[in-house]
Amino acid sequence: MAVTVDEQLLEILACPSPDHAPLARGSRDDPAADALTCTECGREFPVRDGIPVLLLDEATPPAEPGSATDGV
């Protein structure tokens, strides 16, 4: 469930990468996942026990563009 991060907190959070872009609720594949996704770089950050884990080394990197279809 993605309700553990409240609206007011989500509004102020930013990606820790140099783009510092806003974060969106959920993961790329699951809008209801307990995660936050950067709207710029696409990194996914887990939310554990209601605490957003905004560490670059614990983020799920964004999928390489086209990587899902390029593998032949």
């Binding site: 907190l9 959070l13 930013a14 554990r48 605490i51």
Partner: protein, 265 residues
């Protein structure tokens, strides 16, 4: 980041995780449980070699401590009382770099009131869990805890009025990044009110390391001039660094104040 730098960061994280766990698992593990501490001595953590009155909860006024959960006070491993030096006002947004057990976030939250907000940033999972539990116990609704590093703050530019920090910046392996990130998240006219360990300008890095380890807030301490230059390089003005008490030969706990100029980008 070099392997040595990563190792150092992991050492700091592990040390503070152990301190948080000791506070939550056993009241006896804390060396400065409030109410039992009649000596006025604070602590740097359950594993501290010696009980040291220069660090920890003893630096907070009793009225402040009494209103907070015992675990928040017991987990206070800092070297000052930054909420007292930051002169927080109602409605302000406060960010605590390295919030630990949450004592400064909770004190800040009370000072800024329901229209303000206090954010705690820490990289130690165990400390964050403790801080969150403490916030729940204190019934604080205007606090948030985030897991992240102080070198890559997960907040947008111009979003914070006051940055506080209690004896944490000396632990960072990339202090220029901390100063730059702090400057970035502050609004124009925003300020810092920080407690930290600062070395005499005459002490070499080797001499600082002789006087204590990195995790004890000694080896990584900047000198007065290095601190001032670092803040100035990040764009801060009105920089004041005031030593309050000596924590080791040539090393002082100090209050650091500075402002992000109204003209800053």
């Amino acid at each position: 980041m070099s392997e040595q730098t990563i190792d150092l960061r992991e050492t700091v994280r592990a040390r503070y995780a152990a301190a948080a766990t000791a506070v939550t698992t056993s009241a006896d593990a804390s060396c400065c449980a409030p109410g039992t501490d009649t000596s006025g001595e604070g602590c740097r953590g359950p594993q501290a070699v010696e009980v040291d009155e220069n660090f920890g909860a003893a630096l907070y006024a009793n009225t402040d401590r009494d209103a907070l959960p015992a675990e928040a006070v017991a987990a206070s491993l800092g070297c000052g009382n930054p909420t007292a030096v930051a002169e927080l006002r109602a409605g302000e947004r406060v960010l605590d770099l390295g919030s630990g057990g949450g004592i400064d976030v909770l004190l800040s939250a009370r000072r800024v009131g329901p229209t303000g907000r206090a954010y705690g940033l820490d990289m130690t999972e165990e400390m964050l869990a403790l801080a969150r539990a403490n916030a729940a116990k204190a019934g604080a609704a205007n606090v948030e805890f985030l897991k992240g590093t102080i070198e890559a703050i997960p907040l947008p530019a111009d979003s914070i009025d006051v940055v506080i920090s209690n004896c944490v910046i000396n632990l960072s392996v990339d202090k220029p990044a901390v100063f730059a990130e702090t400057h970035r998240v502050l609004v124009a006219g925003g300020r810092i009110g920080i407690s930290d360990v600062v070395a005499d300008d005459t002490l070499t890095f080797d001499q600082r390391a002789e006087r204590g380890s990195y995790v004890e807030c000694i080896a990584g301490a900047l000198s007065f001039t290095e601190y001032r230059d670092g803040l100035a390089a990040a764009g801060f003005t009105d920089i004041e660094i005031t030593p309050t008490h000596q924590v080791a030969d040539g090393l002082h706990s100090a209050i650091v104040r500075a402002v992000k100029s109204h003209n800053a980008a």
